[in-house]
Symmetry: C2
Subunit: 349 residues, 2 copies
């Protein structure tokens, strides 16, 4: 196979009898070079099939024009749409994205961050794993003067910005609606409180109950994970206790699905016997019966804001003041969390 070595600036320069700097400048539209020359250079570059070498460019310019991203998962609607919006916004701003996936593994997360640093990304957007506790790697990033933005799953580290969903506010809205709809026996199947989303949503639950003057029954607050199984187990725990609440606030969409599965198994009807609302959703929610009402997480906004923040930070690298932005949520009402029916004999069909 006739492997042709890649065409370089010098190749173009030689052909035109100019210096490679002229070619470099021309290709970048530098005003040093005349219109004609620029045109000529571009033409020859095209003819020769020139493709710039980013490694060389990055090396000499000390920039990569790339934003590094670390997320715990991809194959989840929340993250995949988040990532898509990040790509969109980066593309719009002419930045490249270097995406890595930690698979909820702390060690892998650290490794990826090292790799991205080695790539000399201009900035880093990170959503930490559920296990991440240690700050040192992040402090290392900051000490290297690499702008860092935490997204959704955050960690308090000096010199870093944060974009989060207004988890607490969203939870408050949800619970208040449930209460206003006539529910008082409200349980919360929550996640780990060490993770900010688990913590903030729980706080919202507590706050709303307090605002409406309702007591919280400790047995009705269950902390576990964020997955289907956790929802399933959570429900079962409530069910087996013999003292069922009439309403559940699920910390995530999968947790709510877990509740659905468990409820179906033991014959508890949603929303008649037990009503529910949750945080987050998935594209197919509308096909679920009953379709879940939920606190919508503005993934598109979240991704966009994260990219905007990091670019802003990259722009004014010196003495940048970190920001913390909370993106507001919206309540989406479907078939659950509707006004409570009067306790008539449950209708058939």
């Amino acid at each position: 196979m006739n492997r042709k070595p890649h065409v370089t600036l010098s190749d173009i320069a030689k052909q035109l009898n100019v210096s490679k700097v002229t070619v470099s400048k021309a290709l970048r539209g530098h005003p040093d070079i005349s219109r004609e020359t620029t045109k000529l250079v571009k033409k020859v570059a095209e003819e020769l099939g020139y493709t710039p070498n980013f490694a060389a460019r990055n090396l000499s310019s000390r920039k990569s024009n790339t934003i590094g991203v670390v997320v715990p998962k991809i194959a989840h609607f929340f993250f995949s749409s988040l990532i898509e919006s990040i790509y969109d916004q980066a593309f719009y701003n002419n930045f490249d994205i270097a995406l890595t996936v930690s698979q909820e593994n702390v060690e892998r997360e650290r490794k990826h961050i090292e790799t991205l640093m080695a790539m000399r990304v201009d900035g880093l957007i990170i959503s930490i794993t559920q296990q991440t506790k240690d700050k040192t790697i992040f402090e290392k990033v900051v000490s290297r003067d690499v702008p860092l933005v935490f997204m959704d799953r955050v960690m308090p580290v000096d010199g870093t910005s944060q974009v989060t969903v207004d988890d607490k506010g969203g939870a408050i809205k949800a619970i208040e609606l449930a209460i206003d709809n006539g529910y008082t026996k409200i349980a919360h199947i929550g996640g780990f409180t060490e993770i900010n989303i688990g913590k903030r949503r729980y706080e919202g639950y507590v706050e709303a109950m307090k605002r409406r003057g309702l007591e919280i029954d400790p047995d009705w607050v269950i902390h576990g994970g964020f997955g289907e199984d956790d929802g399933y187990q959570g429900f079962m725990k409530l069910y087996r206790s013999g003292r069922m609440p009439e309403f559940i606030f699920a910390v995530t969409y999968p947790v709510a699905l877990g509740v659905y599965a468990a409820a179906a198994e033991v014959g508890v009807r949603i929303p008649d016997d037990l009503d529910i609302i949750c945080f987050g959703s998935a594209s197919i929610n509308k096909f679920l019966k009953p379709a879940l009402s939920y606190v919508d997480q503005p993934t598109a906004t979240l991704g966009k804001v994260a990219v905007d923040l990091i670019i802003e930070h990259i722009g004014e690298s010196d003495e940048y003041l970190p920001k913390h932005i909370e993106v507001p949520t919206e309540l989406v009402i479907r078939d659950t969390c509707l006004p409570k029916k009067n306790p008539v004999v449950s209708s058939v069909k």
Copy 2:
């Protein structure tokens, strides 16, 4: 802010009074360097907080150790799990991934491929957009001697490998099961036949009907897109025609969901009045009522094979013989496509 310039090989070398080549070799575990020196170098590197510069490494070694990936979408279960398995397999093989998203846009796809070439990726894995017709960009990649693997959505280009799902075989299995379960009036709501998956699934449908000696009613074959709306429209077209089939083979999961929505709207009960099976699934299928039976697409295998192929190709770059691998599918039976009930009066509850 005291921005510390990154530590380089020379910094380490200076500190130890050796040459930077010694440091470079030591860090890579080259046998030229003695055990002691190697140990020393690594220690100092650690102390100084050395982070290699990939741009420099790539430039001088003429390799990026990176596989470029272009997909049309991320926020879809099929692609997001595919991507996840690609990341996994690449990580396992110590390769980095440069992921780009074309958003089903041909121009963007082309641009991304250019970018990846500029990054000098060692190989390229591509799933083309629904609109891609023009081969030239791919031929350019091949002429540059960059290994190229098409994944799932393929295009016949000389010198490239392909990994696809055995779409035809999967479709055949599905239709044969439906027929064996007693159905004869079988419709197909399919995608574009210009896209290989649309074409092959359709061919499978035709083949299975032929094998079982059933005629195909042209009115019962509807070609459109791959989304929910296409399923919705497809169903409506059948419904309005007044001649309803008793079974639908949907080209994708979203199309099937569209059928669900439309059927619910007009009061057609699934699976009693109309049974259905489709290609592909989503994680929440089990919460759908009735849960769809489907031809499972082995996304994990698909991603793994794609990465394996590209690495193999990168390994023996000269005169590599392109391969075409078809990954087999599996039928997953849930609540649809069960043996047809005798046409008794439909039972209540």
